[in-house]
Symmetry: C2
Subunit: 201 residues, 2 copies
Amino acid sequence: MSVLPPALQNMVDAFGLLPGVGPRTAERYAYYLLRHASDTPQKLSQALQELHSGIGYCQKTFALVPAGQELSDLYTDPRRDKKTVAVVAEPFDLVALEKTGEFHGTYHVLGGLVSPIDNIGPEELHIAELVQRVDEDGVEEIILATNASVEGESTALYIQQQLGDRKVKITRLARGLSVGVDLEYADQITLGRALEGRQAI
Amino acid sequence: MSVLPPALQNMVDAFGLLPGVGPRTAERYAYYLLRHASDTPQKLSQALQELHSGIGYCQKTFALVPAGQELSDLYTDPRRDKKTVAVVAEPFDLVALEKTGEFHGTYHVLGGLVSPIDNIGPEELHIAELVQRVDEDGVEEIILATNASVEGESTALYIQQQLGDRKVKITRLARGLSVGVDLEYADQITLGRALEGRQAI
């Protein structure tokens, strides 16, 4: 005998499909929606239905765009420098960089990172398109803004090799201490990188 | 200029309506659904649509039941002891008690706890129905299984007063150390309660 009515159990199970949502959290979400008989379930349901149909990918940068739009606004905007390209793994990484308000170049979304464990090889990422873009747009600087992880580093290395002897400056995000971090709590690899990349003041 | 396409931004906003879900978590959920073009968004959407229409309340215990069903299976089951009633605040508390597998009585869901801050008075809870049930079903024991919080305690006290001098045994869940807890880390109130309720071995 199930304790929950099927409609509620289905809701709990469906929320449980989201990443990092366990049974307790799923129950909490489901019960919240049940108690608050507002338009929240309706809003969520509508957003879910329109999610896949309303989104496309920029043909040049592979950033997310509204469905039907060919190029990202961040690429077509004349104020953005097409000769400086920040290479990121995922569309949301781009959002994080945009929030800094300090980058005025354009982006290139790889669509992931090289990861043999997850069966993602370099041919599944938009690396060939990046190389093509370097030639077409006359890119002068590529900022490899991948994660500071093993996958991020190896993907960056692979891209560097693919670019061969093209005359393009390749940089990567600085490694060092996060703002506000206590020296004594910083891990030794980060601290080592921070020392290696020390800057004159 | 928004960085995310509207369909995605709407999804992020909708997830942000769930309890405890901040912008980062909402983005994570939305992006997960976007990347995994499986049937997850469809499942979620369907469950959301059927959530409110598929659920009703037991007329006697106020537990959740499939829509159209008058009484909870937990109440109508002849193996359950109708003379022992566990009083809980919310329908999910009942699930927690059921999982112990050690309770064979019936339940009564209050639908909340007395909380002046949230503007919830005792008349908004199913307390009158509980008193009525005591008379109708000849209830012999009421287990006040409310939270061990101020609201839980005051609601329990109020129910006790409402039951007046009816010949019904009123108990509440034991207070004491959680299983596996180290004595030195237990808070002093809990430890005080554990001492107060010490048991002969």
